[in-house]
Each structure stands twice: as structure tokens, then as C-alpha cells.
């Protein structure tokens, strides 16, 4: 018999407690690069509604995970990703990707961006506006993938193919960011529960 000579993916290992040295050295406590990557998700020219998303990542004992690092990946307000297969052109300076770190004392994190538009579904229809998230930390062996949806997009959410894939309707709510206004700014709250009651839905993508 011939061999199928595919290679195997390199196995994952935890990002560990000092992930900031590599991905956000300023947060580790030193300056080294001309520019760190991932601090401006949308850029100055992005169209659409400016929003802030904030939250906590909470472990199975109910404690905030203070050494977590998140990466966000999103389309622009027209639903286009900044990628050759992303569906079109984006505004100059829009990357749609960013890194999010916590306040080491409290575990609170926040990032500023624009609200993404709906994107094409796999075969037909559309996906409701969402931000893709990747969560790494000490104690997480393989980065966790989830999605932030927006609670004020009820109609689009009700037709979203990914939300509808979640058999337990009650769990879908764990992916909905709650909209607030604070000093004239739109702030969405999105707490991630890694384990236990109201555990956030994570995806094998």
C-alpha cells in the first residue's frame, strides 16, 4: 500500500504566564520593538460605529484569569475581512486583528474597534455581525476559539448559522455581548466563563 504522506500539525502547548514577553512586551514591562503589533484593530479610517468591548475571563473557581491574552479577528463594517479571500477591499489601515491584554491586578480587559458588518455564510445566507476570539493563557493547552455576537442584532442573530448550530438554546446567550452607553460611548460587555455554570461556548474550528 502507498503511504499518505501528509504531515501532522505541530502539537499545541500552553502560552504560559509570560506570553506578554513575546506578544506584548510593553505589558511584560519593557520596550524593545519599534512598534508592537495588534493595538489598533480598526485604524483611523474605518467606517462604521465605534465601539468598545470589555469583559473578564473567569475560571472554574469563579476567579478572573489575570494572565490571559486574547486575539480578535473581525470584518469591517461592510463585512469584509482584510485578507486576499476576505470579500473585497477594506479601508486603508484597517487590519481587523488585534491583541487584548488584561489589567494584571483585576483581570479586566477592553478593546476599541468598529462594529463589524454581516459576512457571507458558508454556503448560503449571512452570518450575523461577530468578532472571532482566540483565548490563550497559562493552563490552557490549546487556544480556545469563540465568537462575540451583539445582543442588539436579534434578527440577524436568529438567522445566524453558527448560533443555530448550538443545540442548547440557553447556551447561545453566552456569545451575546450586552450593549451599554457610558459617557456617550457604546460599550459592550462580554464576560467569558472558561468552565462551570454558564460556560461560554467554544468552537472546534
Amino acid at each position: 500500500m502507498q503511504q499518505l504522506n501528509y504531515l501532522k500539525e505541530t502539537p499545541s502547548q500552553t502560552a504560559g504566564p509570560y506570553v506578554h514577553i513575546g506578544l506584548a512586551p510593553g505589558a511584560a514591562g519593557f520596550e524593545i520593538y519599534r512598534q508592537e503589533l495588534g493595538w489598533d484593530i480598526a485604524g483611523p479610517n474605518a467606517e462604521g460605529e465605534r465601539i468598545r468591548v470589555e469583559g473578564l475571563v473567569v475560571d472554574g473557581a469563579g476567579s478572573p484569569i489575570k494572565d490571559v491574552l486574547l486575539e480578535a479577528w473581525q470584518a469591517n463594517a461592510r463585512g469584509v475581512y482584510a485578507h486576499p479571500e476576505g470579500g473585497g477591499d477594506v479601508e486603508d489601515g484597517f487590519r481587523g486583528w488585534g491583541r487584548v491584554i488584561t489589567n494584571f491586578e483585576t483581570g479586566e480587559w477592553a478593546f476599541d474597534t468598529v462594529k463589524p458588518g454581516p459576512t457571507p455564510g458558508r454556503n448560503v445566507g449571512q452570518q450575523a455581525p461577530h468578532i472571532n476570539l482566540w483565548v490563550v493563557a497559562r493552563g490552557i493547552n490549546v487556544g480556545l476559539n469563540t465568537r462575540i455576537y451583539f445582543e442588539d442584532e436579534a434578527e440577524a442573530n436568529s438567522k445566524d448559522p453558527v448560533l443555530n448550530l448550538i443545540e442548547w438554546e440557553r447556551r447561545r446567550a453566552t456569545l451575546l455581548a450586552k450593549r451599554n452607553n457610558r459617557d456617550g460611548q457604546v460599550v459592550y460587555r462580554f464576560d467569558i466563563k472558561i468552565q462551570g455554570e454558564d460556560e461560554t461556548v467554544f468552537f472546534d474550528i
Partner: protein, 242 residues
Amino acid sequence: MLKQGEFYQRDREWHPPALTPDYKTSVTRSPQYSLISLQNSISEVTGPVFGHNDVDPLDNDLISNYAQPGESPIGERIILHGRVLDENGRAVPNTLVEIWQANAGGRYRHKKDTYLAPIDPNFGGCGRTLTDENGYYFFRTVKPGAYPWRNWVNSWRPAHIHMSIFGTGFAQRLITQCYFEGDPLIDRCPIVKTIPDADAISRLISRLDMNSTIPLDTIAYKLDVVLRGRRSTLFENRLEGN
């Protein structure tokens, strides 16, 4: 022309499971529900694109990127190099590779690391580079030291360099750790052993590479990194619904 389809399914029996009690921190940081399996949409096959405006040429030289002029960090001078490939064996060009590590004494330059080994004033401990058109990457650094950590009372991490790799789609995003051939701490490490398969562990152990070693100067280790491969769509299907 064949259309590029989804990434190959990640082999969850090859990667470490979420709950690995001997690595104690995973106990409260592992989801209890199963992951929801998702076929790739545009959100997963796309991912951030980086270019030469993002990275400076010397960002991959940890021996010089934080050293005072005329000085260099203490430790064994090494080159870490290899290729980033996909599961089809094809090079992954222009992809961002970032690394971070402890210094030769096993101490990290991080405000949360309090190990008694000293900070090296000439060593930052991070580097980054883009792979070339053949998927090739290289870093120059010093070999990191082993260090103790609070897992069991007497747990020591083998010498390792953390690696972060992007690929072309967000579904390929990967963080892992590179170890060094011959280190007796590898087989004792609860983090290494979160990976159930010995063959899988071997993929993280860089090999001494005498051919790439620079005589009288720097010793080389080689590690190829493999990201998920992608299916070519041979036939368009016409699924109903989503």
C-alpha cells in the same frame, strides 16, 4: 484551477486535551462542555496579513535586539531555524513567527517572574520574523535555562522557547514550545506530558544541526513547524441550507 476549501480537521487526539490534571493549572481553566464543531466559513479561512512594515530586520536577533552597544547576553549562543510548512508539505511564506524565552539562567524579563536567578541586562527575551518565500525562518539567541515552577513542589521546566505562528487563516493560529534534543527534563515535564502521544512530543524537540552551526561562533538547532493544511475543492457541492 482548484478552489481552496477548508482547513483539515485539527486532530484533537494528537493535541493535548483541555483537562490535564498533572498540569494543575489546567484543572480550573479547561472547559467541561465539548467544543462545538464548526465547518470553516470566511471567518476562519481568513486571518491577519503581515508585511515588512510590521517587523524590523533585527527583530529576529535576540543576541543584539536588547543588548547595550558593544555588549551581549550571557549564555550559549544558538541559532534556532527551520521551516513553517502546512500538512500538505507546502511552505507557508510571509507568515509571522514570534518567540519568547527565559535567559540563560532561567529568568524571564516579566514583571510577574520573581525567580531568584538574575535578569540579564542585555537580554530582552523576545524576537519575531516573517518566513521567507520558502517558509524559512531563523533566530539568533542564547539557549534558555531550565527553571523551577510551582506545580509539584519540585517541578522544573526543560529549556524551551515559546513559539507563536499565524499561517494564512485564523483557524491555523498556533502557540507551542520548542525543546532541545537530549534534555533529561523533557520526559519529566507535566506540560510536555499534556500531549498524550510520544511521537507528537518528538515534533517539539529541536535537533542539533551541525551543518548550520557556525564554527567557533554559534551552535544551531532546527525545528520545522507544521500548520493545518487546506483541502482543494475538487467538486462544488450544492448543499441545501447552511
